[in-house]
């Protein structure tokens, strides 16, 4: 094994959303930062979005499920015991390469579900404590949105104005107003105006295939250039096999594999931002005499409580030409009408809904029709195909109903006993069964979404799926104050290893009813700020 001579002040594992936030912050604060990333930089000209066949490429080479993509920079995931399809992207930028950039702060009640609803646990921090960090990352990521949303406490003022809500947003907003239901222009981490290094969004509308113009605020575009400009060292194709400990039980670096060769990167502090699946996988791989069940796992909770957002979708057809070819994709509008708990509905917690332009995925129309409830039995092929497409493209509005998902220890990420990645390291295995509360929540909200379509004037509306893959991976290194019932504290610091921090979606105590990246980034910013401020008192491993 070769040892890199340079001891990092901070070693960050994973160059995704959370790794990018931490690398930028700590490099700018003058720390010697090394980032290890198993994937490559993504060349914007390799992204499929400017090709007519982008959707075909997105169904294989750029699919969010690593089992389908099958790159050697990916690790496979055994999903044989998961009802949810699960995935991410592995490379500089992490899953933000493919994310839709729906930027959603969690709401105050999300942090207090035990107090308010008597379920799961309260988070060890509050919305109010997180606000300054939301604001900081919203500036870094060029978040665009409208100020004054009554669904949040006063003061949520995104740094850039909202994108146009476009024809789809307008049409649905009129329907929601008839019902007296909440809606708001979408929030997107995509600049609506030139911002820092990024241009104003070109509205190509294919953001989920990667932004070929480098405009979407993925971590490689919006965060890593600053980290590198401040001296951070980013090593790609470096797959971490193990986080190591010194004799005092402090993390002293990591062993990684690059082109078949093993290296050791020594570090004073280690931060893991390897995604809600990659992080527990790495901790579970880092076994030692001190931690025979995986690093920092004295609670037994590493990998447990896996949550995702198995979200529902419904579509409506509209006679008007909605001009639905415009991005971003990205939210046009969102609704939080059914976000907060109303126990009379037969479940607790709720859902944020949003509209992403549907026309950018014409091939997606096949499943919307042939797997849809009520439409699956109608003929789609043959003479119907062209009329169905003509009725749908530019005339469809799709609601995505994002459910809160509550933690259960029977849903977990573990190491697969058989499957391995291209370096021979154990693959991840996910077990996930949708909880009863989540199922009811999705069903209820989908029914309401059909009412919204009717109010907006849809000629036909139906549920297309009650279990879409969200690609949101959460909960597998729970944060909390009690070392017996959590892996890390409110700063992401491992209870068992004081110079080891977790900063990604693994931290989530509950899933929240919104897309997670805003909260992941705010938590990473808070932890990075804490590490920088407390560096003098920090116990170090190397």
């Amino acid at each position: 094994m070769k040892t890199n001579n340079d001891v990092a002040d901070v070693l960050i594992i994973g160059a995704g959303a959370s790794g990018g936030v931490a690398a930028k912050h700590l490099a700018e604060e003058g720390f010697k930062v090394v980032v290890l990333e198993q994937g490559d930089w993504i060349n914007q000209s390799d992204l499929p979005g400017l090709r007519p066949e982008y959707e075909l490429l997105g169904s294989k080479a750029w699919h969010p499920n690593p089992n389908i993509r099958g790159n050697d920079t990916d690790y496979p995931i055994d999903l044989s015991e998961s009802v949810a399809q699960v995935g991410m992207f592995n490379g500089v930028g992490g899953s933000t390469i493919l994310y839709a950039s729906c930027w959603c702060r969690a709401k105050p009640s999300d942090f207090r579900v035990r107090t308010l609803d008597g379920v799961a646990d309260d988070w060890p921090i509050s919305y109010e404590e997180l606000v300054p960090y939301y604001e900081a990352v919203e500036r870094d990521l060029g978040v665009s949105g409208a100020a004054g949303n009554p669904a949040y406490p006063a003061g949520y003022n995104p740094p850039l104005p909202a994108h146009p809500i476009n024809g789809v947003g307008r049409k649905m907003a009129e329907g929601l107003n008839k019902l007296g239901w909440h809606w708001w222009p979408g929030y997107n981490s995509i600049p609506s105006q030139a911002h820092r290094r990024q241009k104003q969004c070109d509205r190509l509308g294919i953001c989920m295939y990667g932004c070929p113009h480098g405009i979407k605020s993925s971590a490689d575009v919006a965060l890593f250039p600053d980290a590198l400009a401040h001296g951070a060292k980013l090593i790609t194709r470096a797959r971490v096999a193990e986080i190591t400990l010194n004799e005092k039980g402090l993390a002293n670096g990591a062993v990684y594999i690059q082109e078949g060769q093993q290296y050791f990167q020594p570090a004073k502090v280690v931060i893991v931002g390897a995604n809600g699946i990659g992080t527990p996988r790495l901790l579970l791989m880092s076994k030692s005499n001190r931690f025979p069940d995986g690093l920092a796992n004295s609670s037994g909770l590493v990998g447990k409580r896996f949550m995702t957002h198995p979200f529902g979708t419904s579509v409506g057809l509209y006679e008007d030409d909605l001009g639905d070819f415009l991005g971003p994709a990205g939210e046009a509008i969102e609704s939080m009408q059914f976000y907060e708990t109303d126990a009379s509905r037969g479940f607790v917690r709720g859902s944020k809904w949003h509209i992403i332009p549907a026309a950018a995925r014409p091939l997606g129309m096949i499943n919307r029709w042939t797997k849809g409830e009520g439409t699956a039995d109608e003929e789609f092929w043959g003479e119907q195909f062209t009329s169905r497409m003509k009725d749908s493209i530019g005339h469809m509005i799709e609601w995505m109903v994002m459910p809160d998902d509550l933690p259960e220890e029977t849903n977990y990420v573990t190491l697969d006993p058989v499957l391995t990645d291209s370096d021979g390291l154990p693959a991840a295995k996910v077990r996930y069964v949708t909880g009863e509360n989540t199922r009811r929540l999705v069903d209820f909200n989908l029914e309401r979404s059909l009412e919204a379509h009717a109010a907006a004037g849809a000629t036909k509306a139906w549920v297309t799926s009650r279990n879409n893959p969200s690609w949101h991976n959460m909960g597998t290194c729970k944060m909390g104050d009690d070392p017996a019932t959590s892996v890390v504290n409110g700063y992401g610091q491992a209870h068992d290893v004081p110079n080891l921090y977790v900063i990604d979606g693994s931290l989530f105590v509950t899933a929240t009813g919104v897309n997670p990246t805003a909260t992941i980034c705010a938590l990473a910013k808070r932890t990075a700020t804490y590490i920088a401020k407390n560096a003098r008192n920090q116990e170090v491993g190397a």
């Binding site: 169904s59 109010e128 146009p164 009408q337 014409p362 003509k390």
Partner: protein
């Protein structure tokens, strides 16, 4: 337009002729849109689609090799091997939907996604009749916690 992705594999003329029949059964045309063969789905466009999904070559070749009338083969696959039917229909539809003429007829502004940045006042134009005012006037809807209260 971008260069098509290259696929070394080539369907024979006989395979293309048979594919044309399958493709027209799946996409017969109408509502102002052409049938699959009218836009050469079994020619250049299936090549281009398979260039993006080379893993589906086997499915296409396999379905074309199924014995029987194409309509019967499709009906059998649909009933007995729905995943194979779905994969075959998907790549045929993929070849059709990337054709520039089809995209145009479906209303897409270009042969592939094109820039269309918003005008400076475009976002406001959607809201200027006060459509958002009623939402604001209803007041806060978030649930207070001990911290917010």
């Amino acid at each position: 337009m971008s260069t098509p992705l290259q696929l070394e594999f080539r369907l024979s003329q006989a395979q293309r002729d048979r594919l044309a029949v399958f493709a027209d059964l799946l996409i017969s045309g109408g509502a102002g849109l052409p049938a699959a063969t009218e836009v050469d789905v079994a020619g250049a466009w299936i090549d281009r689609a398979l260039g993006a999904r080379p893993d589906l070559v086997e499915t296409v070749v396999g379905v074309l090799a199924e014995e029987g009338e194409p309509a019967e083969v499709l009906a059998r696959l649909r009933a007995q091997e729905p995943e194979r039917f779905d994969a075959f229909a998907f790549i045929v539809a993929g070849a059709y939907l990337i054709h520039p003429r089809v995209r145009k007829l479906l209303g897409y502004p270009g042969g592939a996604p094109e820039p269309s940045p918003a005008f400076p006042d475009e976002a406001d134009a959607y809201l200027e009749d006060g459509i958002l005012d009623v939402v604001i006037e209803r007041g806060p809807t978030y649930r207070p916690t001990p911290q917010t209260a």
